[in-house]
C-alpha cells in the first residue's frame, strides 16, 4: 500500500480527544449556576516520541490527556439572607458524613433536620471539628463566626470542621474527596452567603469554539488523506 494509515489513526485519536474536551467543557458550563462547584481542567499531555529507526509505524504520536484536576479557586459570593447558608472565603471545605464516609463540599446550603442536626440538602450530617454531628437548638438564633464557630445566644455550640487538601477529586452531588496531602485551611466562614460556581462562562465558551475548530481541522485532514488515497488508487486505472 502506498499510503500509511498511521496518520489517519493519529488524527482520529485527536478527534476523540476533542470530544472528551467538549464533554468536560459542557459539564463545566452546565454547572455555571451550581453552588460551590469547582470546574475541571483537562490537561493535555506533552508528546513522548519513542526512538524508532525510521519506522513510522512505531511513532507514538497519539495525543492524550494527562489529568483532570479540580480547579480549586474561589467562586464569587452571593448574599442569600438564609441564616443556614454558609460560604467559605479562602481555602478549605466543609466536611460531610454520608454512610460512614467523609466527603468535602463547598456547597454550604444547610438545614436543621427534624432531629435538630445540621445537615445538607441530601440529609447527610455536617461534622464539627471533633468529627461529631452538630446539634442545634432551633428555638435560638444561630450565628457563625468567621473562624467557623457556631454560637447560639452567646453560647459556643460547635466549630465547623473545615479541611483543605492540595489535591481533590470530584465525586458528584457537590461532593469532593481529598486525594493529596492535607494542607492548612485558611478561611473565613460567612453566614447568609452562598458560594457561586467558579466557572467562567466566557473562558469556557472560547474553549468550546477552539474545541470545535480543532475537531474540524482533524476532520478536514482525515478527508484530505482519504482523497490522497483515492487519487493513488486512480493512478492505476489510466
Amino acid at each position: 500500500m502506498a499510503l500509511n494509515l498511521q496518520s489517519i489513526y493519529v488524527l482520529a485519536s485527536g478527534s476523540s480527544r476533542a470530544m472528551e474536551q467538549l464533554d468536560t467543557i459542557s459539564n463545566n458550563l452546565t454547572n455555571v449556576n451550581t453552588s460551590g462547584f469547582k470546574k475541571l481542567l483537562l490537561k493535555e499531555m506533552s508528546q513522548r516520541i519513542e526512538k524508532n529507526g525510521g519506522d513510522s509505524n512505531h511513532l507514538f504520536v497519539f495525543p492524550r490527556f494527562e489529568d483532570t484536576p479540580v480547579v480549586d479557586i474561589q467562586g464569587s459570593l452571593k448574599i442569600s439572607e438564609n441564616p443556614l447558608d454558609f460560604a467559605i472565603d479562602g481555602k478549605g471545605f466543609f466536611v460531610i458524613e454520608s454512610k460512614g464516609e467523609q466527603y468535602l463540599t463547598r456547597n454550604g446550603h444547610f438545614f436543621i433536620d427534624s432531629e435538630g442536626y445540621l445537615v445538607d440538602s441530601k440529609g447527610n450530617y455536617v461534622l464539627d471539628s471533633a468529627d461529631k454531628k452538630i446539634f442545634l437548638d432551633y428555638k435560638k438564633s444561630i450565628s457563625v463566626g468567621e473562624d467557623g464557630v457556631i454560637f447560639q445566644e452567646q453560647q459556643e455550640v460547635a466549630k465547623l470542621k473545615i479541611v483543605a487538601n492540595n489535591r481533590i477529586e470530584a465525586v458528584g452531588d457537590s461532593y469532593y474527596k481529598g486525594v493529596g496531602d492535607e494542607i492548612e485551611a485558611e478561611y473565613k466562614v460567612l453566614q447568609g452567603y452562598v458560594e457561586s460556581s467558579n466557572v467562567n462562562p466566557i473562558k469556557e465558551m472560547t474553549e468550546m469554539i477552539v474545541t470545535q475548530r480543532r475537531f474540524e481541522i482533524y476532520g478536514n485532514l482525515i478527508k484530505s488523506l482519504d482523497t490522497l488515497e483515492q487519487k493513488t488508487n486512480e493512478i492505476g486505472k489510466a
Binding site: L29, T34, E115, G172, V179, G219
Partner: protein
C-alpha cells in the same frame, strides 16, 4: 456519541426548573405572607475515563485519572422564611407575625395547615377564618356579632372583644391566638393558598405563645408582604436565561461536530 449532548441537555432542564421557580416568585410578589423559593443545583456523577495510578511513561505514574462530569441536577427547591415587610392596613382582623411562627388553621374535613398570611375574616357563625373559610385553630368564636364594636389583638395573642350591650360598653376575653414553629421550616410542604403542611423533614409543629420563647409577636392592623425581592428575582431571571442559552450552545457545538463526522466520508 457525545456525552456533551446529554450533559448540556441536563443543564437546559435544570435552568428550565430554575426559571419556573423564579417566575413563581415574581408572580407572587404581592401575595400576603408568601415566602420565596430558591432552586439549588448540584453536579451529577463523574465518569472515570482513566484510572489513577496508570503509567504515563517509564518513570511517571499518573497521580489521578481523567474524570468527566455528566452534567447538573436539581438538588432542592427550598423556601426562604425570611421576614417579609409589614404593611399597615388599619383593618382590625389583619394580623401579621413579626418574627418566627405560623398560624394554624383547621381544614373542614380534618387535618391542619399552617400559614403566615394573617388576613382573617369573620364567618357567618362568628368564627375567625382565612379568606378560603378555614377556621383559625384554636378556634376563636365571636358571640353575638351584632353587639360587637371592635376586636383587639395584643402582641401576646390575647383577643378581646369590645361590645355595646344595651348602651353599656363591655369587654370579653376570647380564646388566645397561638403560634407554631418547626425544627426545619424548609421541610414544610407548600400547598398553595399560602398554606403549608408539616412533613417528616419539617418535624412536628411546636405550639407556643406569641412574643415568648422565640416566637414572633403579633401586629394587629398589619399584613406581612411577600418576602420576594423583585430586583434579585429579575437578576435571577437573567442568570437563568443566559445559563440556558450557554447550555444550548453546548448542544449546538456537539451537533456541529457530529456534522463534521458525517461529512468525513466523501
Amino acid at each position: 456519541m457525545f456525552r456533551a449532548l446529554w450533559t448540556s441537555a441536563s443543564g437546559m432542564q435544570a435552568q428550565q426548573t430554575n426559571l419556573d421557580v423564579v417566575s413563581n416568585n415574581i408572580a407572587n410578589v404581592n401575595t400576603v405572607g408568601f415566602k420565596q423559593s430558591r432552586a439549588n443545583f448540584e453536579d451529577l456523577i463523574y465518569q472515570t475515563i482513566k484510572d489513577p495510578g496508570v503509567r504515563s511513561s517509564d518513570e511517571n505514574i499518573v497521580p489521578s485519572g481523567i474524570q468527566v462530569g455528566l452534567g447538573v441536577k436539581l438538588s432542592d427547591v427550598s423556601k426562604i422564611f425570611s421576614q417579609g415587610s409589614l404593611k399597615q392596613t388599619e383593618r382590625e382582623l389583619d394580623v401579621a407575625i413579626e418574627g418566627e411562627g405560623f398560624f394554624k388553621i383547621d381544614f373542614p374535613g380534618g387535618g391542619e395547615a399552617y400559614t403566615r398570611a394573617g388576613n382573617f375574616q369573620l364567618d357567618n357563625e362568628g368564627y375567625l377564618v382565612t379568606p378560603e373559610g378555614y377556621k383559625l385553630s384554636p378556634n376563636i368564636q365571636v358571640n353575638a356579632p351584632e353587639t360587637l364594636i371592635s376586636i383587639a389583638i395584643s402582641p401576646n395573642g390575647k383577643v378581646t372583644a369590645v361590645r355595646n350591650e344595651g348602651g353599656v360598653q363591655t369587654t370579653e376575653e376570647l380564646t388566645d391566638i397561638k403560634l407554631y414553629r418547626f425544627m426545619n421550616p424548609s421541610g414544610l410542604k407548600a400547598l398553595g393558598q399560602n398554606l403549608f403542611v408539616p412533613t417528616v423533614a419539617s418535624g412536628e409543629a411546636i405550639e407556643g405563645n406569641p412574643n415568648s420563647d422565640g416566637f414572633g409577636k403579633l401586629a394587629q392592623g398589619f399584613l406581612e408582604s411577600s418576602n420576594v425581592n423583585i430586583v434579585d428575582e429579575m437578576v435571577n431571571l437573567i442568570v437563568a436565561q443566559r445559563a440556558y442559552e450557554i447550555n444550548s450552545k453546548g448542544i449546538t457545538t456537539a451537533d456541529e461536530m457530529l456534522r463534521t463526522v458525517s461529512t468525513l466520508k466523501a
